[in-house]
Symmetry: C2
Subunit: 342 residues, 2 copies
């Protein structure tokens, strides 16, 4: 049975979403869940759910928690008994295989990096987000914001980690890895992408060269690599465009159909659509490159999102991605050294 530590105090709706997600995950997937937070508060919430004591759920007390308003750097330094820190420690100490949190993203990332530590050979962690495509199978894009400025070598490491993610979790045979740029031709790009290209070519991956922004959603590439600034912009632009398109299409639909019948039909279509691209179905975004597993959820996550995040954390843990990342990086490093010696 896989054990996952859940930061019960992190999200906007904590501990309600965290507790109901934990109960569902324990019930449906047989995951053992350690809910970390203020004992009284968490137990009171658990008691809203009849029969929870029969499930593999335990409460681990943490006397502090980090809020969304806290400065991440300061909170990580000063709140040594925060729920996220205690949860990360459980992973470090081997009590849990992974942690999930819907809390202050900066604080969660900094804590995981500091407490759990980095996978051998990885310089910086990366947030890897699945994006919907017209084929139905998501494309992974990384980094979407664990870092800001990135070096060519960091992009190479993201490519290895993204490829292993896609193979293990999405069962992609030989994932196609692309470098996000502004034209397909190799010479089209900025200083960073041009410097990264020869490194990406030297990796033990299926590198398909530059891809453009629109390719992310076409299903023509499995893993898209970019610096954290660009990736974060892509993520937020995607949200914005999806909203404006939905808004304008709803208007068009309402004026095409008439009155209440139109409203009724449109509502049905939009509900079905929402289910297809619902953030909560993906259950959060993994922070790749840290020891153990760390799944970061949206602050506004509901119980369904937390349930899926716990499921994804358990899947990641059972696949042992980190060993594979370590060995691929070591192989790459030694082949580059060998090439230099020759």
């Amino acid at each position: 049975m896989v054990t996952i530590a859940v930061d019960a105090m992190g999200g906007d709706h904590a501990p309600r979403s965290e507790v109901s997600g934990a109960i569902e995950a324990a019930r449906l997937y047989g995951v053992r869940v350690l809910l970390v937070g203020l004992q009284d508060v968490v137990v009171r919430e658990l008691n809203q759910h009849k029969g929870w004591k029969k499930l593999p759920i335990e409460v681990v007390h943490a006397s502090q928690y980090i809020t969304m308003e806290d400065s991440a750097a300061k909170a990580v330094r000063t709140k040594k008994d925060s729920s996220i820190r205690v949860a990360s420690r459980l992973v470090r100490d081997g009590v849990a295989a992974g942690v999930t949190s819907a809390g202050n993203t900066g604080a969660v990332m900094a804590t995981a990096k500091m407490v759990q530590g980095m996978v051998h050979g990885v310089e910086r962690p990366a947030l890897a987000s699945p994006m919907p495509t017209i084929t139905g199978k998501p494309t992974i894009i990384l980094d979407v914001g664990a870092n800001v400025d990135s070096s060519p070598k960091m992009l190479a490491q993201f490519a290895i980690m993204g490829g292993i993610y896609s193979r293990a979790i999405l069962h992609t045979d030989s994932p196609r890895v692309g470098l996000l740029s502004i034209g397909e031709e190799e010479h089209k790009g900025n200083e960073l992408t041009k410097a990264a290209t020869p490194l990406l070519k030297s990796l033990p991956i299926n590198f398909i060269g530059n891809v453009e922004g629109r390719d992310i959603y076409k299903g023509v590439v499995d893993v898209v690599v970019c610096d954290g600034f660009t990736g974060n912009v892509v993520l937020k632009v995607s949200e914005g465009v999806a909203d404006v398109v939905k808004h304008l299409l709803r208007d068009s639909l309402m004026s095409t159909l008439s009155g209440r019948a139109g409203a009724f039909l449109a509502r049905g279509a939009f509900k079905d659509f929402k289910k297809r691209i619902d953030y909560s179905e993906y259950g959060g975004v993994p922070l790749l490159g840290v020891r153990g597993v760390c799944i970061i959820c949206h602050g506004s996550s509901n119980g369904n999102a937390m349930k899926n995040a716990i499921r994804v954390a358990a899947e990641f843990a059972s696949q042992d991605l980190n060993t594979k990342i370590e060995s691929d990086l070591a192989q790459w490093t030694s082949s580059r050294l060998a090439a230099r010696v020759e």
Copy 2:
């Protein structure tokens, strides 16, 4: 009467779209159009349109043209009598007030910069694209690809040019100018945005600080400034997301409604929607910062897009944006010098 030179050989459907756009623009807006290209080919196409000789349309011969497959740098160097080059020369010599082209974007930009020259005080031109918002009024984003790597000073110049564009063409009172970054707080961003912030604050504009990708489509900012790599990614991601959302929503709609009735209603809604965000309604994207006016159209532009591009070129020309850009830049430069002297 404003005179606009049109590269008649540029687009994927040249000279058909160019000629029909010219005829419509001359007829509807009273713009005088100089169609530049192979004389025989252009006149033959014109003769498909009855009564064109009564319109203010003339043909200017150019013996060469640049294709989409040509390397921009090489074609600009070697094809000295290309249609875009001859058209740009007409602007430089004061025969036309502006040029529009649906040709090889790299070649059009390089030609305009070289032949027409830069506005005094502007280091690099910028492509400024209107983006649809939920309020109906577009947000301008620049640069979307005239440059790749950009300096903080270039971003400051983009901000001035974008603000003047928004005021003159979209009639925005005191346009809100934002810097595209990954968080609203000033300290959130990459090296470039952090270095650009103090410069943007010192400009004679309504600078509102950092904005995020999703803000572009919300109508909460009028002008969004970013480097050309990021802007180009934003543009292409927007296209990709709009496509995938339309695709998934159409699926949902077809399965909600039933059979042919559903298909019929969905088609109506999507047609109306397309009109609202149709690229061709904006009529191309201005290359700000070059002398005279240069409007760059999508390669696949139809006659409607060309017509609108000619209209936009005429509007730009009649507003004399460049004089305003020059004086604002000069004012800023002298105030910065004064601040240093004090």
